[in-house]
């Protein structure tokens, strides 16, 4: 693993520091993300996910512990420097679309960072091509689907050539097709550029694609490991209000019914594979 791009060290944050009785939203959290990794941060509503997102980009500062990003300690001074190196995509596709048209929106972060005009034109094209939205330069947001809007938001983040892309529940308001579009875009991006991705989500299907999964529960880090490791503790996840992906649940139920499964099936494809090999060897 190459150098760490983002790290939390014993971070504690509470929204009401005056009141001892209120539990902190995030307590004693430590983790780090290495360059080129795809990490998924999963957790149920109220597990502290969105607070973590706000701590990452300096919208909130922790009461205890330190947040480091791009080798800098998060502070009022380093804030803008850090932000210019990370792209962030939020949940609601409509509420993060600033520009009047697709190209204006992609250019927004570039304008803010004082990129010269000629350079902007090149980067806008380039990043829209990366998310396959290059044909929509002059489209207005209300003529785009949710998935398309999120892809534009990703392009807007990519235009700055960030070292880290954070997806904060970026797929949770989309229909299944939009969700697939966005996840597919991220996968292709990672293959092409090796971009570091952190996806904050409660969708375990999305988390299954990551290299590493962090499970948050009530402000604590409950589990950490590869998707295989994390998903093998199925019961525990369900108790936290997280739904296992369909293929995993299916495999678990089959096992209960006496069908010998290796228990490592992640995707639907792998499940089908295992089922037919089992059936033909019976």
């Amino acid at each position: 693993m190459k150098g760490s791009i983002l790290s939390f060290e014993q971070v504690t944050f509470t929204y009401v520091p005056e009141d001892e009785a209120v539990k902190p939203a995030v307590s004693d959290l430590s983790f780090s993300i290495g360059e080129g990794e795809w990490v998924a941060l999963v957790g149920h509503n109220g597990s502290g996910k969105s607070t973590i997102a706000k701590l990452m980009n300096g919208l909130l500062f922790p009461q205890q512990g330190t947040v480091q990003a791009m080798g800098l300690k998060m502070s009022e001074e380093s804030l803008w420097n850090i932000r210019s190196q990370m792209g962030m995509v939020f949940q609601n596709p409509d509420n993060q679309f600033v520009g009047a048209t697709v190209q204006d929106d992609v250019a927004f972060a570039l304008e803010n960072n004082g990129v010269p005009h000629e350079e902007m034109v090149v980067r806008v094209r380039e990043s829209l091509q990366q998310v396959k939205m290059a044909d929509y330069l002059d489209h207005e947001p209300h003529h785009l689907s949710g998935g398309q809007k999120q892809r534009v938001a990703i392009a807007g983040a990519l235009a700055l050539r960030p070292r880290l892309l954070i997806l904060d529940e970026a797929t949770s308001m989309l229909d299944p097709q939009g969700r697939r579009e966005v996840i597919e875009t991220i996968r292709e991006l990672r293959e092409a550029t090796g971009l570091t991705v952190l996806s904050i989500t409660h969708d375990l299907e999305e988390a299954a694609l990551a290299d590493r999964v962090l499970v948050m529960n009530a402000g604590h880090k409950q589990m950490e490991g590869t998707p295989d490791e994390v998903f093998s503790s199925g019961e525990e996840l369900t108790e936290m209000g997280l739904d296992l992906p369909f293929a995993m649940r299916m495999a678990g139920l089959l096992k209960q019914a006496g069908v010998p499964m290796t228990g490592e099936s992640m995707t639907e494809h792998e499940l089908v594979e295992e089922l037919w090999t089992y059936y033909s060897s019976k």
């Binding site: 962030m88 902007m120 806008v124």
Partner: protein, 265 residues
């Protein structure tokens, strides 16, 4: 009704007028508004009307479309016409119906004022019909640039304008959804006496406000994370190009003003 209204609507096209720089067009319209008041006799008003029709022709907007879209304005025009017709005295008495006397001067004034009204509405409509709202915003931002010296937040105003424009369709959609949701719960907005109808709008507005504030908050976060720090040190993606045609159009307007001045009595 709303679909036919062309106030503030933009019709994409590729005419000479469409291609003019928004700054040139805004300046042109403002100067034109002042110049209109030079006209004071039959010849000058005729020139004024001719010039406006030329502008309509150059913008390739169909005259029928323009007239059809501005119907509500014509009612106002007719109203001012009759006001002048009945209440301006002077010149020979043309005829009198009952207690109203119609004088020559009244008829003249009525026609002149109507023409003035017409050319003003036509010209401003040509501006909004041929220039996209975002271009108008850009133009205004640059034109108001000098006022930054006296601490007028020009960039912020322009950004506010463009964001409002961008959110109009979003909030319209939202209104539609809330309306349907309220109707599904038995609210009746379309009928009843005015007082009832106004009351029925309240449960529509409150959720709309709540969601608009939520959106504003999200948008502010998204903007901040994407590095927005106000106008300072920002570059512009949209570039305005002042071309020869733009200078020419303004020179043409000055020449036109001279012509009016020459023929005015």
């Amino acid at each position: 009704m709303m679909e036919k209204m062309i106030f503030g609507r933009f019709i994409p096209g590729d005419s000479i007028v469409h291609r003019l720089d928004p700054r040139a067009k805004i300046l042109f319209v403002f100067l034109f508004i002042a110049i209109v008041f030079i006209a004071n006799n039959a010849i000058t008003y005729a020139i004024l009307l001719g010039f406006t029709l030329l502008a309509v022709f150059l913008s390739k907007i169909r005259l029928y479309f323009l007239i059809n879209g501005l119907k509500p304005v014509f009612i106002l025009m007719a109203f001012t016409f009759f006001l002048h017709l009945f209440f301006t005295e002077g010149g020979a008495l043309l005829f009198s119906v009952g207690f109203v006397d119609v004088y020559e001067e009244g008829l003249r004034q009525g026609i002149f004022i109507s023409i003035r009204f017409l050319v003003l509405v036509f010209m401003t409509s040509i501006l909004t019909l041929t220039t996209s709202p975002i271009s108008i915003t850009d133009g205004i931002e640059v034109l108001l640039g000098p006022f930054k010296r006296i601490k007028l937040p020009v960039h912020e105003l322009a950004l506010m304008m463009s964001i409002s424009l961008r959110f109009i369709p979003t909030l319209m959609d939202e209104t539609g959804k809330i309306l349907k949701a309220q109707m599904a719960r038995g609210s009746d907005i379309g009928s009843g006496p005015i007082k009832e109808r106004v009351k029925a709008v309240v449960p529509l507005l409150i959720p709309l406000f709540v969601s608009a504030f939520k959106r504003a908050e999200d948008l502010a976060t998204a903007m901040e994370v994407r590095g927005y720090r106000g106008g300072e040190g920002r570059t512009r993606y949209r570039q305005l190009n002042w071309r020869f045609m733009d200078t020419l159009s303004l020179l043409l307007l000055v020449g036109f003003a001279g012509l009016l001045w020459y023929f005015r009595s």
